[in-house]
Amino acid sequence: SSTFSADTPIIAAAASTKFALEEIVKAFHQDSGKNIRVSYASSGNLTRQIQRGAPFELFLSANSRYVELLAQQKKTANTAITYALGHLVLITNRQTKIALDTELKGISQLLQKNSLNRFSIANPAHAPYGIAAQEALKNLKLWEQIRPHLVLGENAAQAAQFSSSGAAQAGLVSYSLALAPALKNSSRFVVIPANLHRPIEQSMVLLNNAGDTAKLFFKYLQGEKAGKILSRYGYTKP
Amino acid sequence: MAESPKMAIHIRLQQQKPIPLSVELECKEGELLALVGPSGSGKTTVLFAIAGLHKAEKGIVRCRGELWQESEKRQFLPAHQRHVGMVFQNYALFPHMTVLDNIRQALSDSPKSEQIIEAQALLKKVHLEGLENRYPKALSGGQQQRVAVARALARKPKVLLLDEPFSAVDQVTRRKLYRELRTLRQSLNIPMILVTHDLEEATLLADRIALLHKGEILQTGTPEFVASHPKTATVARLMDQQNLFTAKVIEHDKETQKTHLRWRGIALEAFYQPQLLLNQRACWMIQPSDILLHRRDKPTKGDQENPFQGKVVEQFESRGLANLLVEIDPELKINIAINVPLHVARRNRLAIGENIGISLLREGIHLMPYQKLRRDVL
């Protein structure tokens, strides 16, 4: 490709990290003068692609499970590092009249009144934020009741689209998404306490063909500047 | 021409596009009108206009008191409401239906139980028994055409439009179909318009013929009359008259009821036709059947009328007739076509190269206004 020199590494990143990562990549370019190309997709898809020889040098997963899987299959060049933790938010469209609270009391009231229609989460079968959402709902003893009302997004972003568009009354999605400018205007949200689910570990690992730039970026992500950016996008330090 | 109310169908068409058309036609109940004319003269287009498949720019089509088209009133009855039976020039059978079903489509007014019986009766009429369950692609050209005829009849039409309906049928079958058509005319009593390029067919079947040329009707009348008394040389040519020449009118003699002509220096006598101007050129024609062959043994009465000596330069037989081309002036290469029964030809030992005498019967010499004749007229 004409716009990227040969030593521009391609890194694979979970789609949910897109907001933060785009800014970090820019900052990295300013600081080091080096370019990075990012292929965003769901962590699961990226894992499958890496298994099949995708030319990625670094993998940022929204879930530590996939990274471990790759390590087992000797696709990784170093040990994985959790560089950030993700958080869940309860989100709803501005026009939807729902009381938002960290214990989802408003939702359970709606459930009792039988007036909850649809509630969106990412698919707990494979999406990291979906798994966390399921855990949180289970811990709040809402899971069984809410199950018939669930609509499942392919990923957290789709779950957010469901609720932010008003098609679903509310949903549990990632904090980083909720901070996106477009959502800020159309939605309201509260952050769910991290103790309601296992940590949503944003793991990263260098892959077998990692070059110097990728290694540099791996370090950069653990640095202070990246940390600041990450925290602005709703991630916390591990 | 004011339309008479007795006419079962009356058509007046005027258009410039896609082809110029200026046609006025009428046809009575039970009358069979043959629409003849050269290939491309617009015959099919006229039928389409009657059937409602072509909408002429300006036009009136009236059928049995119904107004089918009147362009000024913006009235145009769609084809399916017109009750016409139409045989298409290229048959247009429904390829996905058996012969029987093709015909039954036009019988949909009858109850189901009768449809099959009626369809089979029609198939018998067109001599196609046993082919009920064939699909059109498994039929020969002539068989397809006859199915198309049966389908048109099945419609119980108010007017029957036949676009060269027998062109693909062999002569023997055709003769049978002619007979069926004649029977039908009596039983149906509807106007029928038959497009044909076969003048013999027209003569055989039609009460009147209308001659179409470049979108215009040149003449209508009984087939025999149009053939023997064409209004113009063009009509004569289109009626396949081979003996067509020009001459000068010399004298009209009322007493003897003769008109005298000068034809390439030769004096000719025709029957009295005073409508042609004296000392002007005119066209004239004679039908081969009005030419007498002089018998070698004993001269007959007609032999005195316009006698010529000539040499047979072409001869072929067809249908029991010997068709001869007789060169009566080797210098001017004037040839005259005559035909005689075969046995007469044989008895007179006619053959190419033989010298014979002929007489152009006065009664047969028909005069027309002058026009330049094409060289290729035989």
């Binding site: 969106s120 079968a125 392919e154 679903a168 | 498949l53 409401q81 429904f94 949909s108």
Partner: protein, 222 residues
């Protein structure tokens, strides 16, 4: 094997066909026989559902029909129905993204019927409706079947737009395609393969039977 999802998919495909068949035939026939200004443009507009990524199309549908939108609110207040997260929504989505496959082949099939055959039908006194049923439709049938098969297969396989509009609710909007996708995403490759094979087998049986039927009737007179 997720029988529920398979049943739903089949139901959805058949329901979509039920709508696409008349829509495709009416539009296809109309486009085949009518000439008018802007016809190319209209034909183009009918292919556009293909141009946008299904998920994106689904997203726009979601936004349009969600209860917070004007149209969605009106629908829910007037008909007490909603076109998201339920079967109706899936159906609408399936119909929209199949329009190009349904209309175009049917248009071509109707256009291929010679003018004179239709003229002859009119001269047989057949009303336009009868001409349609007895002549045009049977002659266009192979093209119609082809369009239907494509639409049927496409509905079975589509998941982007269906996921977006339907919300992946088991038993309600979780089609077999989504179910297979989920299994693959969950690294449950064995289930995914079993489901894929069942789906393929089912498709092979139904589609090849359809083709065979249509071919047989065509050979009779073709």
């Amino acid at each position: 094997m997720d029988w529920q999802a398979l049943t739903l998919s089949i139901k959805l495909s058949l329901a979509a066909l039920l709508f696409l068949l008349p829509i495709g035939i009416i539009f296809g026939r109309w486009l085949a026989y009518r000439q008018f200004f802007g016809k190319s443009l209209l034909q183009t507009l009918l292919t556009l559902p293909l141009v946008l990524p299904p998920t994106v199309l689904g997203y726009y549908m979601l936004v349009t029909f969600s209860p917070t939108s004007g149209l969605g609110a009106w629908l829910s207040s007037t008909f007490d129905t909603s076109l998201v997260f339920n079967f109706q929504g899936l159906l609408l989505a399936s119909i929209i993204f199949n329009l190009p496959f349904a209309i175009q082949p049917m248009q071509r099939a109707f256009a291929a019927i010679p003018r004179e055959i239709r003229d002859a039908a009119a001269c047989c006194g057949m009303k336009p409706s009868r001409v349609f049923w007895k002549i045009e439709l049977p002659l266009a049938w192979p093209g119609v079947v082809s369009a239907m098969v494509l639409s049927f297969a496409h509905t079975l396989g589509e998941f982007g737009i269906v996921l977006m509009v339907g919300g992946n609710i088991p038993g309600e909007t979780q089609t077999i395609a989504i179910s297979i996708y989920d299994r693959v995403q969950a690294f449950d490759e064995q289930s995914a393969s079993i489901m894929s094979l069942s789906l393929l087998l089912f498709s092979i049986l139904t589609i090849s039977f359809t083709f065979w039927l249509s071919m047989r009737s065509e050979q009779k007179y073709g």
